[in-house]
Amino acid sequence: MTNSFAVAIAVARKDLRAEWRTRELVPALAQFVILALVIANFGFQIDARNAPSIAPGVLWLALVFAGLVAFGRAFAAEREQASLEALLMTPASPVAIFAGKALAATLLLVGCEAVLLPALALFFGTPLTVQVVAAVLLATIGMAALGCLFAAMVARVRARELLLPLLTLPLWIPFIVAGGQAVQVAMGSGSGSYDQAMALLVDFDILFLVLTSLAARFVLDE
């Protein structure tokens, strides 16, 4: 157990260090989400009145597509260097390796959210409250588990750029339903209960964390 934990931390540190040295992904993702906000502005004609009702949708759209890029990249470097096979040949458990890569990809996506949320507040004038941040972070956990599982899967499949969104997006919908409601309520435009949506997010997080950790062995061990 402690050994698996140490492996996961080591793999996550490796990925984060690689990102720190190259500084490729997070700046690119930050630019990507800013561009998404700019495009939303032209698509919706945003003004002070309609911003609170449009901003949550823009937030989730930008986050979902940034997430797809982030998780797709999580296994891209390993594939390009064919180093995943080497990693898996070590006695470390595949689940621990998967957990490490998922942890690193999650933190990189959180880095992207650290740009997205303030930018949304700046350009759309929506409140940047603890409630909004908490809902986004809670959704990120489960979305990352699922996204990394399917990213690991498509890494060794043809047409991977095509397949990753097709597999991941439908299963992310529960997080967007609950997270969407929580953010709408927190931004003052939705109906329903914030606490209920957050409880649902926690349930989904637990469900998908358990399922992905059970399934990771079959996906990585291939």
Binding site: M153, R156, V157, R158, A159, L166, L167, P170, L211, V219
Partner: protein
């Protein structure tokens, strides 16, 4: 006539019987008139889709446990048949919605989750196609099939969990007159039989396809890949 032909003929005959019951025996709905007759096949197809996806789930679980090729072929067969019945459910639902709700589509939880179900299992088939045939495709697809099944209870309970335009459960709530109920159960039994026959025939097709793949692989091992044709000499 092979066993498969006979089973298929029996399924078609039963569906015709169900059709006769729907149009000749069941009474017309007092409010909606004849368009309500869509109900019988619409709901039956949805149940057949649930059943087919359950085959995908169980087949996937068994495959991951012991690598059984039989389980994997059943899973493949279930996914195709389930997708067909989900399509039937969606299309018939839209045809029903247009005259009654005034539009083909509304974003309510039941409709949306059913559409998502369709997308998930279309993705399942895409994984099968894009992954390396054999162990990789089977394993990856099993994982997708297990995760995808989470949507089935969501579809089913969506009408109780959320406020939906789509009506809630009416069979278990005893809201139908006996003639309608009898017609529904007949249609459901016939549709489930049709689905089972389709799964079995599809299973046979998958077995034959696996045999062809294996024969090709053996030929490559024995003779080597086919030599490219020599350039014609001028």
């Amino acid at each position: 006539m092979s066993r498969y032909d006979r089973a298929a003929a029996a399924a078609v005959a039963l569906m015709l019987v169900a059709g006769a019951a729907i149009f000749l025996y069941a009474p017309a709905d007092a409010l909606q008139g004849t368009v309500q007759r869509i109900f019988y096949l619409h709901v039956s197809a949805a149940i057949a889709a649930y059943g087919s996806f359950a085959v995908v789930l169980v087949g996937g679980l068994i495959y991951l446990r012991n690598g059984s090729l039989v389980a994997d072929r059943f899973a493949r067969a279930g996914a195709v048949v389930g997708l067909v019945f989900t399509t039937v459910t969606l299309v018939m639902g839209m045809l029903w919605a247009k005259p009654i709700w005034g539009s083909y589509w509304t974003w309510d939880a039941r409709l949306t989750s059913t559409l998502v179900l369709w997308i998930i299992y279309a993705g399942y088939l895409l994984v099968r196609q894009l992954a390396e045939p054999g162990r990789q495709a089977a394993r990856y697809a099993a994982v997708v099939g297990i995760f995808g099944f989470i949507d089935v209870p969501i579809v089913h309970f969506s009408v109780t969990w959320w406020q939906t335009q789509h009506p809630g459960p009416i069979i278990v709530n005893d809201a139908l007159p006996p003639e309608m109920l009898a017609t529904f159960f007949l249609t459901m039994a016939c549709t489930l039989f049709l689905a089972a026959v389709m799964v079995v025939i599809r299973y046979r097709i998958e077995t034959l396809a696996d045999g062809v793949d294996q024969a090709m692989a053996e030929r490559v091992q024995l003779v080597g890949p086919r030599e490219p044709e020599a350039e014609p000499v001028n």
